[in-house]
Assembly symmetry: C2
């Protein structure tokens, strides 16, 4: 499967995480070959952190892990869709989803509140 | 809003398209500033085609347009989530979603069939 995927010039591929039962889109992050292999082996989602330039085992600090339910990829084999079971919240702001900002009537509005104080996750 | 977004070194930002009522993730494509402005003005999703290096008005050839319901973006402001109403199918293979390949029991399997013959879309 890994040989089918088309990684970009940095060896990365974008991965969308979607809660498997509710359909909520939680986040988008990046994976490399190593992080995909680790994810498939461990069953817990591991990304590649571009800012820290290292493997990022989702929840390693916050405890908010993502269990992989199914890995899917698209017709061009250049994007992953991870069906996951998200423990707690996906977003570092304490919100369930990272996509909490919306354009409504020409204004940016927040459509979700934090469920957990970030200080409790990272403090 | 556009000034809040963080485009990459090529002036692009990834955009996930999700069917607004069913939650199905349809595709991921890329947008630049111009394509976002056109999308907000017209109400029909316009991407930036990296392969053709031009604006890509989704459905311009196939008729399978995407009506924008709501534009959202994430906590890092570097990914868009487009809540859309997809007419027909999103994928050039004639499938509703581009994410029709899944890893199951170590094998790649197709989990969706074409709903329309691609020749009818592009022929």
């Amino acid at each position: 499967m890994l040989d089918l995927l088309r990684f970009d010039e940095n060896g990365l591929i974008p991965a969308i995480a979607q809660q498997h039962d509710t359909g909520e889109v939680l986040m988008l992050a990046w994976m490399n070959r190593d992080s995909i292999e680790e994810t498939l082996e461990s069953g817990n989602v591991c990304y590649w952190s571009r800012s820290r330039a290292r493997l990022w085992r989702k929840g390693e600090t916050s405890g908010q892990t993502q269990k992989l339910i199914e890995l899917r990829f698209d017709c061009d084999a250049d994007t992953l869709l991870l069906m996951v079971d998200q423990k707690g919240v996906a977003c570092h702001t304490g919100r369930r989803s990272c996509f909490y900002a919306a354009m409504r009537d020409g204004q940016v509005v927040e459509i979700a509140e934090p469920e957990i104080d970030p200080a409790a996750l990272y403090g």
